[in-house]
């Protein structure tokens, strides 16, 4: 259960949103939408605990994430704007190091399997600097396959730079993860159809500063 209570966020003395409330029970696909610069990424960073909100709090299973810290991050995988890929490491090293640093060591077979599923087979020993933007995105997304057991995924525009097949594969993965009873929060501009039992939407109005968001729950499909 991911809960947001009375959240207010300001960036550079500009109020992005205030009094935001919603609750996403386990097994929810939470889609955050709205025009550029309305605070979607800021909201994701607050949800992760990277950014401190001006007021309000984010709760994971009823406890404030700023107090849970490592216990919360154990449950969380965040794929942000930046891929978190080191140019001077090979594809395999990148994934391995990332898993180790995150505290989720994975066996070599598991890493190979994850790379296979994002379509990077044959590139394992290539330096990341020689890969295309889309392939680097795939390295970052391979983390999701390594941490399929994490109950919360927070994804910031996961579909950017991916080709058609990549988008289809990822949306299937996200759908599967939600159906397994986990929560996925994502920001995306593309209306990618994801088959999930429970969907929720946070809509940022944008325009005037201090815009609040409206939440509409979609019907179960």
């Amino acid at each position: 259960m991911l809960e947001v209570v009375d959240l207010t966020c300001e960036r550079g003395e500009r109020s992005l949103f205030s009094g935001l409330n919603f609750a996403a029970p386990s097994g929810t696909l939470l889609r955050i939408a709205g025009p550029n610069g309305t605070g979607k990424t800021s909201l994701l960073r607050i949800l992760c605990g990277l950014l401190e909100p001006v007021s309000g709090e984010v709760r994971w299973h009823g406890k404030n994430v700023r107090r849970l810290r490592e216990d919360y991050w154990k449950d969380l995988v965040y794929v942000g704007h930046m891929n978190g890929v080191k140019d001077d490491l090979t594809v395999r090293e990148n994934l391995r190091v990332n898993a180790e640093v995150a505290g989720r060591p994975a066996s070599p077979d598991r890493l190979a399997d994850a790379l296979d599923r994002v379509g990077l087979t044959g590139f394992e020993d290539r330096m990341a600097r020689f890969l295309s933007q889309g392939q680097r995105r795939r390295i970052a997304l391979a983390r999701l396959y390594v941490s399929e057991t994490a109950p919360l995924w927070i994804l910031d525009e996961p579909f950017t730079a991916l080709d058609v097949k990549g988008v289809a594969g990822l949306s299937a993965l996200i759908g599967q993860h939600v159906r397994n009873g986990n929560t996925v929060a994502l920001v995306t501009h593309q209306e990618v159809p994801i088959d999930a039992p429970r969907r929720q939407r946070v809509e940022f109005a944008g325009g005037a500063s201090g815009a609040t968001s409206s939440i509409e729950e979609e019907a179960t499909c």
């Binding site: 605990g49 990277l50 401190e52 978190g84 640093v101 505290g103």
Partner: protein, 222 residues
């Protein structure tokens, strides 16, 4: 828990090996500064012998400052730092790993290099030994304290200057006791107290600075 420490050290060493220019830059700077001084002040053996420890120590300190900028900047730019902050492992441990790796690629080579300078400046066997020991104890302190400065100024424009300003006052005691140890050994007084103090600095820094760095990183990334 120890596993993540070793993995971070391994990662940073691997990156250092792949970006040799960065590492060699620091070492090159150190060597150039130390070798230029005798050319500048003339070949007077007694004078050179007297100033050698100070010159080596000042050069090591400046080289350490020079290398601080890239301690977190690259990780910050490509998003890997963000991932470290979201690790389920304790951040101070990850930070400690980074500081250890930083020392292994800057402080340790400088220390090894100083053996050569001991010979070049005609220091006795004992003084050279003390110089190496003081650097061995002192350079890790430079990396640890430097990490605090680098973390605090992360993402700021002109952060390099600010890092130096923040870090230099804290470097001065290390410099004084480091070169003081060699001076004491040269004049035949006991140098044990100097080395013990450096050891105390090292223990103090390795216990406290990782926490300070972790806090500073969380603030900088916001």
């Amino acid at each position: 828990m120890l596993r993540v420490l070793l993995q971070v050290i391994r990662r940073d060493l691997l990156l250092a090996v792949r970006q040799k220019a960065d590492v060699l830059n620091t070492l090159f700077f150190f060597v150039v500064v130390v070798t230029m001084v005798p050319l500048g002040i003339g070949p007077e053996p007694n004078l050179l012998r007297a100033i050698a420890p100070g010159v080596v120590w000042v050069a090591a300190l400046l080289a350490a400052i020079l290398s601080l900028a890239r301690l977190f900047a690259n990780d910050y730019a490509d998003g890997t730092l963000e991932q470290m902050l979201l690790s389920s492992e304790p951040l101070p441990l990850i930070v400690l790993g980074k500081a250890v790796a930083h020392w292994l690629v800057t402080g340790l080579p400088l220390t090894v290099m100083s053996i050569v300078f001991g010979v070049v400046f005609d220091l006795g066997l004992q003084e050279t030994g003390v110089l190496v020991a003081s650097l061995l104890l002192g350079t890790p302190v430079l990396s640890l304290i430097g990490a605090v400065g680098a973390a605090l100024t992360l993402g700021l424009r002109g952060g390099g200057v600010l890092t130096s300003l923040l870090v230099l006052p804290l470097y001065i005691p290390v410099l004084i006791f480091g070169s003081g140890a060699v001076g004491a050994a040269a004049s035949g007084v006991s140098y044990a107290a100097y080395l013990l103090l450096l050891g105390a600095f090292l223990l103090f820094a390795s216990v406290l600075t990782p926490w300070a760095v972790a806090l500073a990183l969380r603030i900088s990334v916001e």
